[in-house]
Symmetry: D2
Subunit: 141 residues, 4 copies
């Protein structure tokens, strides 16, 4: 089971007048990486989860900026799965340069919900099985 | 019937490493002004339209940039209604400084649709009545 | 010294296909509130800091979502200053509804830097004086 | 000389509560495609242009939406160069699905400027030569 990694380039428009990544934009990188994890690892995209009456909204997210990011920088954004609770999945999302420089370390916690009531539910079995396998392979760095 | 005007400030994060507004962000200004027009003039927010099985998606939008915009600039974004077709509303959205400087001129065309089929429908009568009154008062500059 | 509070409305475009605020957008709310704090409380906007050869980039930020936010929701986003180090300012940013419902609790840590070298510097005296006064008045909830 | 084409996927967060692409986000697609054109075809990124005392801001942009776009849709965004004036470059940017469906047709006009004075300048010779070659190959559909 491969680690999910997204290659992306820091866009001109992701950066602010100081010439470096504008704070909120890193959460586009983090959230889109987790979105891809659900589609490609978890077995159901967020669209498919909702069609099934479920959802996986974010309840907590955070980032530490390690090195300033400038337009044109090529990043590998990779996803680890650090914690797996009854209803929650705790992802760690890392932004690394091609030379191995660490640019950011993010965290994002999703909770499985029933879409109609917005109440948390146990992680559905198929998702849990995939998440457990992924956490075993990519649970920490 | 007052003209819909939104006062807003150009944010740091709306600007790019050249220190001026990043092109796509002006469409946040334009679209949010039209969103407010539907809520406050048209009589139903986009959320309420959808709840009624309708919608008003954008089919065309455009902007001319007249003067560069920098962080901290205070703008008045105002909405005119220039064209009113069987199904379509053609808005003109102007961005002016407090001293009257014109910063941008935008255009946005919405089409009334049936939400389920995504086909165009005649503008619903209540919306048409309000739109006609607004166009009579604020149809051109 | 009044607490800095920004009134804002959750926009249609801030929300995702699940109908609730898309995770990264809350950091627009948090970062823009801190931007306003620098301009209106700290005594120098980010643009002015850079013109003076300084800067105050974010090194850490986080959020806890307490209640889902939908389009049209009116929020009061308020800023507390919880920690004040040699170079760092630790803000707490709260998103509350008009009825007092807590929607989100954010955190953002800025570090004073020399813009050219990107090295941290002691918080400049004028900013420190204002920050100390604000922290004394609005340091915790 | 190959046509510049960017493969991209419509993200969950690019879409709104109606489940389709939020109007302003298409200009991220259009502007990022033109950004890539400057880097990979024009011979200098926007960062490099500014370092050389120049710039290429947008003076006009527009889009026609042809087909609604949903999360997960894979697009090929391609760039044509339709007009080449003394100072201006007129791009046409097309968004097509993998099955050839046309999703959007955009337009973006950049003007070469002197960065310090913000006045238009003749397109620099190296850029003009590359633009002419590209327009000859990819000037219209």
């Amino acid at each position: 089971m491969d680690r999910l990694v997204q290659a992306r380039t820091v866009k001109w428009g992701d950066c602010d007048p100081a010439g470096i990544l504008y704070t909120p934009r890193v959460f586009d990188y983090i959230t889109e990486a987790v979105e891809a994890w659900f589609s490609h690892v978890g077995g159901a995209s967020w669209t498919e989860l909702i069609a099934a009456g479920q959802g996986a909204p974010t309840v907590h997210t955070a980032v530490d900026f390690r090195t300033p990011m400038e337009p044109g920088l090529r990043l590998n954004v990779s996803v680890l799965l650090e914690t797996l609770g009854g209803s929650s999945l705790g992802f760690r999302v890392l932004g690394d340069g091609e030379d191995g420089t660490r640019y950011f370390e993010g965290k994002l916690v999703s909770v499985a919900i029933d879409f109609a009531t917005r109440r948390s539910i146990p992680i559905p079995p198929a998702l849990r099985a995939r998440a457990e396998a992924y956490a075993a392979a990519h649970g920490a760095e």
